[in-house]
């Protein structure tokens, strides 16, 4: 770690003693350099890549006439897609709310062989490309697939039905719930549970009256994150859904098919609706997180 070969740049370190001498007033700039450069670059890159393209989309949609918008959003096919997207995302998120909480609980509280492996596998839906997840889920749950063929014999069809969409969205949402609940569960003070036990509470009472209230904000956050992600999900769904008009079309698919038909106005309008929706969800999730960190502090 010797960099005597590096020519010593003229040093402006004199600012630091001056700051110390000036006492408590912190009007002097920080001794750490590069604020203007890094902030300028950050804001410029953010604007070019994210903010300008997103605003351009809203600007494009603003050219649409009200009657056009009404026509787009009262189209039966679009309405059914929104309904399906909402329902399937909500179902997936709620399934994860139950089983994700259970998985987080088991991974934090219990010792069993393979726990470490299972714990790191939870992130697989983040790491696995969505198209890969899509084709493999479709292959497993189709009527010729490993699980699909068995379910078929008892009359349950998964592939090419709304159930398949729920399944794909459950896969996608899994890490969100587990990873938001897990750290809170790890930090939970066991002494509170011991106190409750010594006061005569049984295990179920402790879980429902002590543990669950403490986990609630993070659980809600995880469920909403999974829901938000599921609404926009495309790659893992389109293979297993079969994309039958009015039956198994999700909203992102509608956008793609409108684009393929060169219906730019329709695609833009629906995209803007989805953007507004996801920003509203983002805001709600931020508030939720503030609530949960506030709770963590007051506890």
């Amino acid at each position: 770690m010797n960099q005597s070969t590096v020519p010593a740049a003229p040093i402006r370190g004199g600012a630091a003693p001056a700051e110390a001498a000036a006492g408590k007033r912190r009007r002097y700039p920080s001794v750490i350099p590069g604020f203007g450069l890094t902030l300028g670059y950050t804001v410029m890159y953010l604007s070019l890549v994210v903010l300008i393209p997103l605003s351009a989309t809203f600007l494009k949609a603003s050219h649409l006439h009200w009657s056009e918008l009404v026509a787009i959003f009262t189209d039966r096919q679009v309405l059914l897609a929104f309904r399906l997207s909402f329902l399937a995302s909500a179902e997936g998120a709620l399934i994860n709310g139950v089983f994700g909480l259970l998985a987080a609980w088991v991974l934090v509280r219990y010792e069993f062989p393979g726990r470490g492996l299972l714990d790191s596998m939870v992130d697989l839906p983040f790491a696995l490309p969505t198209a890969v997840a899509g084709i493999s889920l479709c292959a497993v749950y189709s009527s010729t697939g490993w699980i699909g063929s068995r379910l078929e014999t008892i009359g349950i069809h998964v592939a090419y039905t709304p159930l398949g969409i729920t399944l794909a969205l459950t896969f996608i949402g899994l890490p969100f719930v587990v990873r938001t609940v897990q750290p809170v569960l790890e930090d939970l003070d066991k002494e509170v549970e011991e106190a409750a036990t010594s006061l005569g509470a049984n295990r179920w009472q402790i879980f429902s009256k002590v543990i669950l209230p403490a986990l609630r904000p993070s659980l809600f956050t995880g469920i909403s994150l999974a829901f938000a992600r599921s609404l926009g999900e495309y790659g893992s769904v389109i293979f297993i859904s079969g994309n039958m008009p009015m039956k198994t079309e999700i909203v992102p698919l509608i956008i793609v098919s409108k684009l393929e038909q060169y219906d730019y106005a329709g695609a833009t309008a629906i995209a803007c609706a989805m953007l507004i929706l996801s920003f509203a969800l983002l805001l709600a999730i931020n508030l939720l997180q503030r609530w949960s960190s506030h709770r963590a502090k007051t506890r």
Binding site: F35, A103, A133, I135, A267, A271
Partner: protein, 321 residues
């Protein structure tokens, strides 16, 4: 925390010697049989949802034997898509790494108005559907987009070509490095950098010899995560690519094409490469987490000493003058 927990469960497991201890610990744990039921349900859930799809990919790829598996990669379109994917990642990952470092430096080391808003805006691409992420660039640079006519006049192709795919990939992976680094750098504070500067290190030396060694594991993980997503992105890329075979197909798009042509062995073989990439990401994450935990523990004992020594080492040259 973790130690206490393992002691705790060890106590419930074989605490026969100390009856009192067992009773005390048992009070905050479920009976062992109940634990095993919960474990079984959770393991079954995770197995069905996570392991089965993963196994399916490899089973599908190897269905006709190893020879057929390797033969899949002889297909010129698949070979092209692998090369094309590598190029896309090679361009977009360094750009987002530079941005992530700059953003984390500005946000973690300085106080300024609007910091919270900036942090939220950086996260914005995560909230946008992949399909919409592709669409915004079609509306900018496509035929009917804002710059469409101008680009057509100058014979520049962005949509249905590599630049559009790169733009969509950058958008999708935009927050990843910054998101990894901002909390890490905030946690480390700025005392070490201030010390290094006071002792005479230049700004660049401070970054290179004080900050970077502290965040190197976070940087590595951020890069691996960005890379995996860049190579695996499907929705956004699908919208801007136009699916022109041998020209604009990335590996995930090639998987889709092969699968839709009922060419399952080749589709799963190509998908298996992406699976390896995903599994590598998980391994790196596990290693990085271990390293971060390891580096954190000794630091906690002597934060001042370590900061001072780091600063000294960093400014050894100029300070010795």
């Amino acid at each position: 925390m973790r130690e206490a927990k393992s002691q705790n469960s060890a106590g419930t497991g074989k605490g026969g010697l100390k009856g009192g201890l067992k009773a005390k610990l048992g009070a905050t744990n479920e009976p062992r049989w109940f634990q095993w039921i919960l474990i079984a349900v959770a393991v079954a859930y995770l197995f069905l949802l996570l392991f089965v799809p993963l196994i399916t990919v490899f089973a599908g790829a190897l269905e006709q034997g190893l020879a057929a598996y390797f033969h899949s990669f002889a297909d010129p379109d698949t070979l092209f898509s692998i090369k094309f994917t590598l190029i896309i990642a090679a361009v977009s990952v360094p750009l987002n790494l530079t941005f992530g470092l700059a953003a984390a430096w500005a946000i973690a080391k300085f106080e300024f108005p609007g910091k919270q808003i900036l942090t939220t805006l950086i996260d914005l691409p995560f909230a946008v559907s992949p399909v919409v992420s592709g669409l915004v660039f079609v509306l900018m640079f496509g035929k009917q987009g804002w710059f469409g006519p101008w680009l057509a006049d100058h014979d520049i192709k962005i949509i249905f070509a590599a630049p559009g795919i790169i733009l969509a990939t950058i958008f999708i992976t935009f927050p990843m490095v910054a998101r990894e680094l901002i909390p890490l750098m905030e946690e480390q504070g700025k005392e070490e950098e201030e010390a290094a500067r006071t002792l005479g290190a230049s700004g660049w030396q401070t970054f290179w010899h004080v900050t970077l060694p502290n965040i190197k594991w976070g940087v590595l993980y951020g890069v691996i995560l960005t890379n995996a997503r860049a190579m695996g992105e499907f929705g956004a890329v699908s919208v801007v690519s136009g699916h022109i075979r041998g020209l604009t197909t990335t590996l995930p798009l090639q998987v889709e094409i092969l699968y839709n042509e009922y060419n399952y062995v080749q589709a799963f073989s190509a998908a298996s490469l992406l699976c390896f990439l995903g599994l590598l990401t998980l391994v790196v994450k596990a290693v990085v987490q271990r390293q971060v935990r390891k580096s954190r523990q000794p630091e906690k004992q002597t934060p001042v000493a370590s900061a001072a020594s780091a600063a000294l080492a960093a400014s050894a040259g100029p300070a010795a003058r």
